[in-house]
């Protein structure tokens, strides 16, 4: 294997047998044997996966629930065995798929630190040296002699994380760790990831949270239904991922519908969804307002990481609320946003524009064409001049 490759995956397939009725008693095994009926179906979880992760790379794996990303991670970690294909791992790998694996609720925090350390490959002596730092980092000095079952979930996660970051192997595998903890804990996670990036560690991060992947990973693999949808720079993967996942019709399941809306949005049409910077965005909002009470309209734009980019409503713009029972409203704006995908949310509001009546998220998406490399959210008209 070439030296600068950390993990090489070649044509890996993995399927699980899903029994219709789980055969874990000998009686049912015998019955099934006589019936000559194989009462399971084969579910192919991963199909022909091949990719390489270079040393020092921060590699992301994204995909929706059930896309096979956790299975892939477990294959990389050597927990599962592939049906066919090969996985080469060059170097030592920390097999932590989850925080706090092996934690025993009946043991004290102290005992759990040593047990968890042993799972990471640290001897008792090594752990004793690190013990104080771990406890301090977890901010749990007063609780170490209490049983773990008396810890809050936040305390458990903090302890687990403090031990996990001691792992000093060449390749680290992380699954959804970002999903836990409060804001300050997440910040600690981010700091740790940044530290890993600086140290040029090889890290595989699996998440369905595109913003975390975008933030840290150099490259990413997008899995959909067990197949490789795309491998490439994170930005491209992020666009594809969000495009695929927010492509829901207006009355689709993801839209929030307010209870008994007085005024409903029936349809939102875009004249054009792919725009250049500075082009006009035109959205036509069809509405029904059966009670004929005065209403306002609002529109918001969100970035791919959920960042709020723009929002306005008819009240802010000094328009009178409308009492029409049915109609269409056109929204026009000059788009001065950096290239990327943006999601549109529209709402009907009461006559003072203080309360949403029908709030529809992700009614459409617009793409600002990639004509420039500028970063951020807002596109400012700008120039450079050497003085």
């Amino acid at each position: 294997m070439i030296d600068n490759i950390a993990i090489k995956v070649e044509g890996v397939n993995k399927s699980f047998k899903l029994p219709h009725e789980k055969v874990n008693s000998i009686k049912s095994a015998v019955i099934n044997f006589y019936k000559r009926k194989r009462s399971f179906e084969k579910q192919e979880v991963l199909k022909d996966i091949s990719f390489e992760i270079k040393k020092g790379e921060f590699f992301g794996i994204v995909g929706r629930n059930g896309s096979g990303k956790s299975t892939l991670l477990k294959l990389l970690a050597g927990i599962y065995t592939p049906d066919s294909g090969q996985i080469h791992v060059n170097g030592k790998l920390t097999p932590f798929i989850e925080l706090g694996v092996g934690f025993s609720p009946e043991l004290s925090g102290r005992d759990n630190v040593f047990l968890n350390g042993a799972l990471l490959g640290f001897s008792r002596k090594e752990m004793e040296k690190m013990y104080d730092e771990i406890v301090e980092f977890a901010e749990l000095e007063r609780f170490m002699d209490q049983k773990l079952k008396n810890y809050s979930s936040g305390m458990q996660v903090r302890l687990a994380f403090s031990i996990a970051i001691r792992a000093n192997t060449g390749i680290l595998i992380l699954d959804e760790v970002l999903a836990v903890g409060d804001a300050s804990f997440q910040q600690k996670c981010y700091d740790y990831f940044n530290e890993l990036r600086k140290q040029r560690k090889t890290v595989v991060l699996v998440s369905h949270d595109m913003s975390a992947v975008s933030r840290f990973c150099d490259r990413a693999l997008y899995l959909a239904n067990g197949r490789e949808e795309y491998i490439g720079p994170t930005r491209e993967v992020a666009d594809m991922y969000l495009e695929a996942n927010y492509n829901t019709p207006i009355n689709g399941g993801q839209n929030e519908v307010a209870v008994k809306p007085r005024a409903t949005i029936k349809k939102v049409d875009f004249v054009k969804t792919k725009l250049d910077i500075g082009e006009k965005l035109r959205a036509r909002i069809s509405f029904e307002n059966p009670t004929a009470l005065p209403i306002h309209f609002g529109l918001q734009l969100f970035g791919r990481d959920g960042s709020y980019c723009f929002g306005s409503n008819t009240h802010i713009n000094g328009l009178q609320p409308t009492s029409k029972k049915k109609g269409t409203l056109e929204f026009v704006a000059t788009v001065k946003l950096v290239p990327g995908v943006y999601f549109v949310t529209v709402a009907t509001m009461d006559e003072f524009a203080t309360k949403d009546l029908d709030y529809r998220t992700n009614v459409g998406q617009i793409v600002v064409n990639k004509t420039t490399e500028v970063g951020g959210i807002a596109y400012l008209d700008h120039s450079w001049k050497l003085l």
Partner: protein, 266 residues
């Protein structure tokens, strides 16, 4: 061998054994003492019923110690196999989330049974002194005999733990087998009590029967009926050892084959 006993593996084994010990008697007042009290209490019951009431083993010298040694060895076998049986499934949480050498789980659960056995051996020594048992030169064989029991129990543990992942019936079946084994092994009765020589031979084909009899013969009294006497030195007396070695090889192969899929089958 060096690969198997790497620093990481040793640490892991010692931490798992430590955890096992700490968790086993969690919340009980007497704690570790129970690992001694359990076989002792069983001994007291059997002693009262069989020795005092039924007058079993009246013609065997030091019968109480003889009985206790049998119980301790059987108890070790029982403890080790039942603990290992559920150990893979019991650690399912770990196995599904982290890659550790799976034999370590079986090995560490066997070690805690070994520690218990050693503690119980101390009790036996105390009993031997109280009972004024003469120290026999053949006692040096005892460690070898206990090793045989250990290997036998380990081989079965490998089979049982791997099978238990797929078929939970194994737990109940093994319970019945142990129950039957307890009576089919000359633990609470002397083997000589069985009139038929053929039956004696059949019973002694069981490695546990052979080992317990040999252990008694070598440590307590040469009056014990052992394979060597029953088979009159014939090759049949080696059958129990052959059984143990075959089971060990089979157990290792089976466990290795099955362990690849533990994580997804648990």
């Amino acid at each position: 061998m060096i690969r198997y006993l790497s620093k990481e593996n040793k640490t892991l084994i010692s931490e798992l054994v430590r955890t096992d010990f700490k968790l086993r008697y969690q919340g009980s007042v007497l704690g570790y003492a129970w690992s001694l009290l359990r076989p002792l209490l069983l001994f007291v019951i059997l002693y009262i019923v069989f020795v005092k009431f039924l007058k079993v083993g009246a013609n065997i010298p030091h019968y109480p110690v003889y009985l206790l040694l049998g119980i301790v060895i059987w108890n070790f076998f029982l403890e080790m196999t039942t603990q290992s049986l559920g150990s893979i499934v019991g650690r399912g949480d770990l196995i599904r989330k982290i890659r550790i050498p799976l034999w370590i789980i079986i090995f560490s659960s066997s070690l805690s049974a070994v520690i218990n056995l050693l503690l119980n051996m101390v009790v036996i020594i105390i009993f031997m002194i109280l009972n004024r048992v003469d120290l026999l030169a053949t006692t040096i064989w005892l460690p070898m005999i206990l090793l045989e029991v250990y290997v036998f129990a380990l081989s079965l543990s490998l089979f049982l733990s791997a099978m238990f992942v797929k078929f939970r019936d194994v737990g109940y079946i093994w319970e019945v087998v142990l129950q039957a084994g307890f009576y089919l092994t000359p633990i609470l009765y002397p083997l000589a009590l069985i009139p038929s020589a053929t039956l004696q031979k059949i019973i002694l084909l069981n490695p546990m029967a052979q080992a317990i009899q040999d252990a008694r013969w070598s440590t307590i009294t040469h009056d014990t009926l052992i394979s060597h006497t029953v088979f009159q030195g014939g090759w049949h007396m080696y059958i129990p050892f052959a059984i143990v070695l075959t089971l060990l090889a089979g157990g290792l192969l089976y466990f290795r084959k099955e362990s690849k899929y533990f994580a997804e089958n648990i």
